[in-house]
Amino acid sequence: MNHHPMKLVTIVCESHAREAVTKMLREAGAHGWTLFPVEGDGAHGRRPADIPEYTNVQVEVIVPPEVSNTLFERLGREFFPRYAMIAFESDVRVLRPGKF
């Protein structure tokens, strides 16, 4: 198999940040994303996922390394000071690198 290295960036944020995050992903050069509602606990307390407005979403996006860097730069500058959220990057391999 011909695997190509990519970055998976995972963002868990309060659902109010949802539109801002997905807009930013597009701007930074991602070609797609995947998203789902999650419960959570953290520095901002429990978020028990019973009201859509008070819950978290997890966003996953596969991007080339340079896009991941752009994402983290903007996350650190524009998003972390404003929203309850975490973000992390990991290494993945894909088959069709052109897609991402």
């Binding site: 509602p37 019973d50 009201i51 407005e53």
Partner: protein, 326 residues
Amino acid sequence: MDLLHALSSNLLSPAVLFFALGLIAALTKSDLKFPESLYASLTIYLLVAIGFKGGVAINEAGLGKVWLPALAAITLGALIPLWTYPLLRFGGKFTAVDASAIAAHYGSVSAVTFIAATNYLKAVNQPYESYATAFLAVMESPAILVGVVLGKLGSKRNGPLDLATLKSTVHEALFGRSIFLLVGALVVGALCGKAGMDKVESFFVTPFQGVLALFLLEMGLVAGRRLEDLRKVGPFLLAFGVVMPLLHGALGVYLGRLAGLELGGATLLGVLSASASYIAAPAAIRMSLPEANPTYYLTASLAITFPFNITVGIPIYFAMAGWLYS
């Protein structure tokens, strides 16, 4: 009906008792939980039902009767932040951003509190203008806009008041899902009128009170989970969350009378004025004033003012209207 009777007939209603049950579940850390989509579904049902009913009422009463009290409602909503802001800023020592955020929440309204009040009036056989839903619809946004402007002007760190922010705030305040559903259903109801109501009455009207009771069980859970934040907000905000509703309630009732409403309608304007938003306002504030601390505005509106209004506030505003109209 005197205040005591008004109070006890509210406190022993299924809706309020189920609300209390939800609070108890949260406080005793029971693992009772409503699925997220049940909350969302019940909200859609309640907003569509109340909006549709209000629209049919407008269709029957004619817009001529509605515009003046609606204007009063808008004005009241827009003005409330103008005195709550300085009070919070200088009395409560809140930052400009936090003060304006809280002010926005108290100028805006809580649809569930309004619905509980219509329920209450029905229970005590007090007729009211069904088109009052229109006041609910128009009172949600003005205070949010005023609050955001105040916050932007009051704080430099928060970025200047640019056009883009204003535009997105206006969009959020006018096209957010709750306001869209409510206004949309209102228009649908106004277009259908009585003939349309006949078709859907057994879904949107007959079971309504029971659905509300179930929904308040969930709201008790939601509010109850916030109760532990009470000690984080300090005594000033605690007092604010109880005293301001009483003042605003009286003001709303009084204005309602001036605008020509009957006793029932004036009570509802009082309730709207006294209530604080906990869905639409947080969403808009989170986007436009993200530096404001949600612990303050959410705890105040959701854990103090909301339970206060649901349990004792509503009968008090009704009693106020009773005194004024007698």
